[in-house]
């Protein structure tokens, strides 16, 4: 009986103590959250005024796999909040938003080009220091007004953020236009190590922007007022230093060891042939030769004529010759790309870092890239060849 009484006393004590548990006041129900799916940032370099665009998911639109999509309601609402600092903007969010801003599920961050040129240190820092914001989301640079991109509906995917995420995924696996290291944390890491990074760019396709999701969804022309991912923004020291076109991006990703595959049209001996290139081996080393560092980049490409409709080699010798010619052509393009970046003073390939890491005793000095010799060796082999169009 005494034991039972003591147990009861303990229980009552615990029950009373639970009143002081303040954690339960922190709780928030899901339907009280404004779930942001994508954010856009713009900075006016002249005034320093910052504008943040939040794409908030509208749960009532059925923007989910489970719900029936409603054409009457927008799947997302874009809120535009301006202020002199990001902290101020966050505190002002509830002037417009009726729910608590929930940023843990961002899928992409889009930065305006002028903001990128002004500097993204504060933006990256803000994302990194907030405990509930993921830094593993891709960062894109808007080629054009970010406000327009944030107000563009997507097709097939009801959430624009899903469309961006999905496109980046497929471009990464099926092309060499988008690389793997495009996340906010990659930016942070590369910038901390004084390395350069290339982020994908997003731009709006010309056309009348539809303000109605149902109207947009009922239009067969998918190209009209859609956004497009292409080109790359080169960052150095948290600032956008320039841009690369899609062809440059292919060579950039090949020279940085990206394992993706890319179909490319080549002109060999006056004949056009589309070849799918896939990098299967990549290594980079540095040696000291003739009083200067030499960085050697070796890569092996697997070639396929699966998409070739123009020309096919007709014999084994012709195929081997084509392999050599294609290797030479790729090597030539890679050298041209390297020289182009060197001319702009961009160490996009991390040549300086390679020399510093492998030859710490032989500092190339103030000459930087000019003192380093780069050798690119490309070995190309056909893996799949043939077509039913022409006899092999």
């Amino acid at each position: 009986m005494v034991r039972m009484q003591s147990t009861l006393k303990t229980f009552v004590a615990f029950a009373l103590m639970s009143v002081f548990l303040t954690a339960c006041w922190d709780k928030i129900e899901i339907n009280e959250l404004a779930i942001a799916s994508m954010a856009g940032v713009d900075i006016d370099p002249e005034t320093g005024k910052k504008t943040v665009y939040y794409q908030i998911i509208n749960p009532l639109s059925g923007a989910t796999a489970g719900g029936t999509p409603s054409a009457d309601m927008s799947p997302v609402y874009t809120y535009e909040i301006s202020g002199q600092s990001f902290g101020e903007i966050k505190s002002m969010a509830n002037k417009l938003l009726s729910r608590k801003l929930f940023v843990a599920h961002y899928k992409a961050v889009v930065i305006s080009q002028r903001a990128a040129e002004y500097g993204i240190r504060d933006i990256v820092n803000l994302i990194e220091v907030q405990p509930n914001v993921r830094s593993s989301i891709p960062m894109l640079v808007a080629d054009g007004p970010v406000s327009q991109i944030m107000r563009t509906y997507s097709l097939l995917e009801r959430l624009p953020a899903d469309a961006v995420e999905s496109r980046l995924h497929f471009l990464n696996t099926d092309s060499l236009i988008v690389g793997k290291h495009i996340r906010v944390k990659d930016v942070s890491e590369r910038m901390q190590k004084s390395e350069m990074i290339v982020l994908p760019m997003i731009k709006e396709k010309p056309g009348n922007v539809s303000q109605h999701s149902g109207e947009r969804a009922s239009d067969i022309n998918a190209n009209k007022s859609n956004f497009l991912i292409g080109g790359g923004a080169v960052f150095r020291g948290y600032r956008m230093a320039g841009r690369l076109n899609d062809t440059d991006l292919i060579w950039y990703h090949l020279l940085t060891g990206n394992k993706g595959q890319q179909p490319k049209l080549f002109q060999v001996d006056g004949k056009r042939i589309t070849v799918v290139m896939k990098q299967v081996r990549f290594d980079r080393s540095a040696t000291w030769r003739r009083n200067k560092p030499v960085v050697t980049i070796n890569m092996e490409l697997r070639l396929s004529t699966g998409l070739a409709t123009e020309y096919l080699p007709q014999s084994w010798d012709e195929a081997k010759r084509l392999e050599r010619k294609l290797a030479q052509s790729v090597t030539h393009e890679l050298y041209a790309f390297y020289k182009k970046t060197k001319k702009k003073g961009w160490d996009l390939l991390g040549i300086k870092k390679t020399v510093e890491r492998t030859l710490p005793q032989n500092d190339p000095g103030s000459g930087g890239l000019n003192d380093v010799e780069v050798i690119i060796n490309v070995d190309a082999k056909f893996q799949r060849i043939g077509s039913i169009n022409k006899r092999f």
């Binding site: 709780k27 339907n31 799916s37 749960p59 929930f102 843990a104 599920h105 899928k107």
Partner: protein, 488 residues
Amino acid sequence: MQRRNDKQRKWSDLLQKVQEALGSPSDLVCRAVLVKEETVQCMYLESLVDKPMIDDYILKSLMGGTFSEVEQPYDNGNRFVHDLPFSSADPEQLLQRTVDALLTGQCVLVDSLMEKIRLINVISPKHRQIEEPKSESTVRGPHEGFTENIDMNIGLIRKRLRNSRLRFEKLTIGNQTHTTVMLVYMHNIAPDALVREARRRLRAIRTDSVLESAYIEEYIQDRMWSPFPTLNNTEKPDVVTAQLLEGKVAVMVDGTPNALLAPMTFFEFFSSPEDYYQRADIATFIRWIRLVSFFIAVFVPSLYVAVTTFHQELLPTQLLINLSVQREGVPLPSLTEVLLMEVVFEIIREAGLRMPRAVGQALSIVGAIVLGQAAVEAGLISAAIVIVVAVTGIAYFVVPVYSFGISQRLLRFSFVLLAGFMGLFGILCGVLFLVAHLVSLKSFGVPYLAPAAPGNGSDWKEVFVRVPRPWMNPNPLPRFMQSFKRRK
């Protein structure tokens, strides 16, 4: 004449005292039979005895003078009563013996001088036939279950365990009910210390009544305040037999089909007798499913509450959006929703148990519709809650022992409250308390969390894997029970 009057007076006195002792029961029958010019008084409680047996054998034999060679048919075959001399009875004990005998369904014969007494067991076997236990049905394996008759239950065990070292120790417990309780064990397998401890605990019981084995369980269990059972109870004789062969003791109580088994550890509740009637790989898989079901039954509602109210960032985006859609317009917070639904589910489950079968089925359908569809459509709860409660409700039936399932229900409510107050931190605190409690529990001296704590690698395989029979130790006393000294 004087002598006759004395006899009559003595008989009247005895009868009066018996009636007083029993409260003048309406089923008390007293008959006087003339046997060789002597009157033999015959008494019995007709509600307990087999009347045709009394009429056909006892009374006929008495009147025919062949009483000493009565053939007395009994329930499962014939028993022969070869010698029926009346035993001498102390006049002071005569009344008490008569009353006790009447209450145990015996026919009391008292000689004319009121000096000798003969008790004949003519109890009518009023019990149901052997049926399959409702709470422990199996697909493969024996379907027999215990009944309320302890003799029949003993027979069911003896049938499976034809071994001279099988021991049944009889005790009578209950000042009012005088219930027969049997301590059952294998003399050569069960450790001495275990049998001694079981015997000591049973003998220490001081109670007025024992109507079910649960009465005994509360006295002999190691810890009163714990949601976990430290004894197993089963209605299946094959389970008792298997456990006896593993060195455990069983306690059987007359009047109930539930036998108790001790000691039991936490992980043994995830084993089912059916495991040993199926192939080892399948049994192992099903054992894993049971372990997973335990975690689902205990933790899923609390995890749902914690994640949806405190840690939304842990959810995949699409799931978060789906849940957000479902919660639009729902007036109650998630914690209240879960608690409400769990309580309603418990009410329906409890009502389903008490309802007649035909109505019970209808009730479950109505319950499912009300809970599942109507409540969601009415906007009272979100659809995900229905799934959570339904999955949880089904999961706790997976554990083969019913009493262990009940403890899961208690734990579930505690964890939901903790999750509602403190989210995952609360669940973590609860888990720590739970583990500490489990480690502190013992069942008849055996650590409840064995072989996990104290750790014993060699016994682990029996926890997670049903070892193929050829690989089993022929004398499989678990390591955690080997601390008891085994009989030579």
